[in-house]
């Protein structure tokens, strides 16, 4: 246990009352906007004082409202990456990156080149933030936080302000960061895709309270998640990459699937989120479909849901899949428990 937080905070009608502990690796704070996840992150950073609360990090007490302990932001050495980058407009990219090092006595010049290279921002160093694209700004902001040699990295929806293309530009850098840096991270997000890809643990917040906590696979399949995103997370290993078509083949227990992602190294473990609304069910081996991924399995349960839909739970050689179909389809196809079927997933639905 590295970080432990318990906090209450009232803002008008909104009340936050939440606590969790986290270890090394990436902990995701997951929830809709207004669930209090950013407030909780700001309390950890020291940007907000809790009404009542206690915060410890590596056995040091940073906040204890009972004993009137409050370590100010600048002494905590927690890196914070904001949704809106917040680069200093009057400083060059290089000076933005060096900003944190002006206030620490640590001299680690080797880090600079390494981090700049890791984030691919070598070419931007002498520019001002004004002319940078959203993705470039966010990479510089990440570098700036890292170069202040933080003990913990707090990320507040770092991708939320970016479009899909920019998101897929930054995500690989975040993955590299997680794998190469030993700094623990708290990652605030409302995106199942991001959480699936990055997090080791997920904490779900709703209306200022912790609703669930656990591994991404456990938590993201639970009913507390937004219906649109309900699904499963399956782990697999990259078998091969097809550079020409910019896809990768990933081996699951259920078989091989194709991911629209280029440049994944062979043998790497990946988590794939498959939303139940993206899965089709066929009773015969389908032919002539553009959908690339067809997995064999059989129906374990049929769970009636609201509004004439049914959740089909499928066992595909040990991997569990969910599919959401209408009651009409269930009747037409004659779906029953135990029946062998084919689950069809468009590769495009597997975009992270």
């Amino acid at each position: 246990m590295i970080l432990s937080v318990e906090a209450q905070k009232h803002f008008g009608a909104f009340a936050l009352d939440a606590g969790f502990t986290s270890a090394a690796g990436v902990t995701a704070l997951f929830g809709r906007s207004g669930s209090g996840k950013t407030t909780l992150l700001r309390i950890i950073a020291g940007l907000v004082r809790p009404d009542v609360g206690r915060l410890t990090f590596e056995d040091a007490v940073l906040v204890d409202t009972q004993r009137k302990v409050f370590v100010p932001v600048h002494q905590r050495r927690f890196g914070y990456i904001f949704q809106d980058s917040r680069l200093f407009p009057h400083l060059s990219v290089r000076n933005n990156l060096n900003f944190g090092s002006w206030f620490t006595s640590r001299k680690r010049p080797a880090d600079f080149d390494h981090i700049v290279h890791l984030l691919g921002i070598e070419a931007l160093l002498d520019r001002k933030p004004h002319g940078l694209s959203g993705g470039e700004r966010q990479r510089v902001a990440i570098g700036r936080a890292l170069l202040a040699s933080p003990r913990l990295l707090l990320m507040d929806e770092p991708l939320a302000a970016l479009d899909d293309a920019r998101k897929s530009e930054i995500l690989p850098y975040l993955e590299k960061l997680r794998d190469e840096m030993k700094t623990p991270m708290i990652y605030v997000s409302h995106s199942v895709a991001e959480v699936t890809r990055l997090a080791d643990r997920v904490i779900v917040l709703a209306d200022g309270k912790i609703e669930a906590a656990g591994s991404p696979a456990e938590v993201l399949a639970s009913p507390s998640i937004d219906q649109r995103d309900t699904g499963v997370i399956i782990s697999g290993t990259v078998a091969s990459a097809d550079a020409q078509h910019r896809v990768s083949h990933v081996t699951l227990r259920a078989g091989e699937v194709i991911l629209p992602a280029a440049g994944l190294e062979r043998g790497r473990r990946v988590n794939i989120h498959i939303a139940e609304r993206d899965v089709l069910v066929a009773v015969q081996q389908p032919e002539g479909l553009s959908a690339l991924n067809i997995l064999e399995g059989y129906i374990i349960t049929l769970e009636p849901q609201r509004e004439g839909t049914v959740r089909v739970r499928i066992d595909a050689k040990g991997d569990i899949l969910l599919a959401r179909v209408t009651t009409l389809s269930v009747d037409r196809l004659g779906l029953t428990v135990g029946r062998p079927i084919f689950a069809v997933i468009k590769a495009m639905a597997l975009i992270h």
């Binding site: 050495r77 200093f88 944190g100 206030f103 002319g131």
Partner: protein, 236 residues
């Protein structure tokens, strides 16, 4: 063009005015930044009282301000006597008194301009600086101050221009002594009171226009440069 040549006394008035205004502006600057910061960011009891006090010279008749300065900073004034015995600083009937009067009169303009630009600095950037390890003083020096530079420059120019034009408070506080306290405005006024002084008054008026206009141009250039520095890549 012979009539354009300034006499020795006229030169003395011009030099004195520029000197007094420059000193008044520079000495007032740190106080102006400090008070503007208190008014922009501070939350304390008596903030509106401080705000009122700062603006007082703007709304009082200058002669009244001059008389108040005389009472407070004259030889036997409340602060004047102290300052003389402790630091040897004398204001009455000296150029230092003229600088004090000019500084006080320009102070509200300076504070207003700096306060506005401090308020316009994005607090989110200061938050970001704090997460990077900067304490409040460093946040101010590395983020807040550079970002409000254009407003600070504008405030300095306003104070300088006000000082160049100051008349009522100065003449009430330190009188009108050629070579010591007779500034440009006082010299022009004096020349208009004597027969045949018109040519001198016109010359000094032209000088006053040139100086004020130059200060304005310089401030435009500086503000432009400060703005460019913030928002554009360096020219390569």
């Amino acid at each position: 063009m012979e009539w354009l040549h300034l006499s020795e006394d006229e030169w003395a008035a011009v030099r004195l005015s520029v000197w007094v205004s420059t000193i008044a502006t520079l000495v007032a600057l740190p106080f102006g930044v400090f008070v503007a910061y208190l008014l922009a960011r501070g939350r304390f009891w008596g903030k509106s009282v401080l705000n009122g006090l700062v603006h007082l010279p703007l709304i009082l008749p200058p002669v009244v301000t001059g008389y108040l300065l005389l009472i407070a900073f004259g030889r036997r004034g409340v602060f004047g006597a102290y300052l003389e015995s402790l630091f040897g600083i004398v204001f009455s009937f000296r150029w230092t008194g003229a600088a004090l009067a000019c500084g006080v009169m320009g102070f509200p303009l300076m504070v207003r301009s700096i306060r506005l630009s401090l308020e316009a600095v994005d607090g989110k950037l200061e938050e970001a600086a704090a997460t990077l390890g900067a304490n409040r003083a460093w946040v101010f020096l590395t983020v807040t101050l550079p970002l409000s530079l254009p407003g600070i420059i504008a405030g300095m120019v306003l104070a300088f221009a006000k000082a160049m034009g100051e008349f009522g408070a100065t003449i009430t506080f330190v009188s009108n002594i050629p070579g010591e306290t007779q500034t440009l405005s006082a010299a022009i006024y004096t020349l208009t009171q004597v027969p045949g002084g018109d040519a001198g008054a016109t010359r000094l008026t032209l000088v006053a226009i040139v100086i004020s206009f130059s200060a304005l141009m310089a401030s435009e250039l500086l503000a432009h440069w400060a703005g460019r520095r913030q928002h554009h890549d360096p020219v390569r």
